[in-house]
Amino acid sequence: MNAFGFGNIVLIIGFLLIIAGCYCLIRTYHLLKIIIGIEVAMKAVTLFFTYAGYVNGHIDLAQAFVIISIVIEVVVAVVAAGIAINLYRKYGSMDIRNLMKLKG
């Protein structure tokens, strides 16, 4: 059962979450789903940081990192939601395909 040790499971689940989040970020057509993609990937990052802190003994430093990155991610989410609402007021829909007019 070497593959199913605690560390391996944490890393595998973290990678799967990052793949899910990045896939959502790239392929979606809805403006607010972009924010959901960022959030899901940030959960995986939090998991990685805490696991690193758990393993090398500096759990308090890892908690400081996690707290700071949670605050940053909230500010990014608020700004992105602001842009989404602004675009909705201008174009009347939340579809990204309405904006794809630049070429080259």
Binding site: I19, A81, I85, S93
Partner: protein
């Protein structure tokens, strides 16, 4: 302890994938909140008590409120939503990708033989509060500046006077 951690890790993965794949935005936001709650339990069991608290209160609470308010400010009819966005079709490739990459990762974990370190004893004598306020002051300055940036950004983006 291990049963709780493994269950919550699995729940977090399931809720995360549900948040990506559901096409109704409200249900997506609620699935995200549930994933945050599961992550909070995992963090607590690993010993990170304060970050579990912040994760549950901020990501489960505040971000969900932001989502629900953004969704309600841009309401669209549910059937029209489904017809326009086709998100269900585009996202349906995701479970296949996840299962394939899961199998690849498990094979890599068994054959590569990467030796992961075990949990070691806590090395710092200090406490989170001391570390955050004494050692990481540059990050605290960064946080103050980010909040100022966020305030300036919101005041620009939500101004009503120029909407036509």
């Amino acid at each position: 302890m291990t049963a709780i951690i493994y269950t919550c890790l699995g729940l977090m993965l399931v809720f995360g994938v549900m948040a990506v794949m559901l096409h109704s935005m409200t249900k997506s936001a609620i699935a995200l909140a549930a994933a945050s709650a599961a992550l909070g339990v995992v963090l607590y069991e690993m010993g990170a008590v304060w970050s579990a608290l912040l994760e549950i209160s901020v990501c489960s609470g505040l971000v969900t409120v932001i989502f629900i308010s953004a969704i309600s400010l841009s309401n669209m009819d549910k059937k029209e939503l489904e017809k326009v966005y086709e998100d269900k079709k585009r996202m349906s490739l995701l479970p296949v990708i996840l299962i394939i990459s899961g199998v690849v990762l498990v094979i890599a974990a068994t054959t590569a033989g990467v030796q992961l370190p075990q949990a070691s004893a806590v090395k710092d004598a200090g406490d989170l509060r001391e570390i955050l306020w004494n050692n990481r002051q540059a990050d605290i300055w960064g946080l103050i500046i980010i909040m100022i940036t966020g305030a300036a950004a919101v005041s620009v983006l939500f101004r009503e006077s120029d909407w036509k």
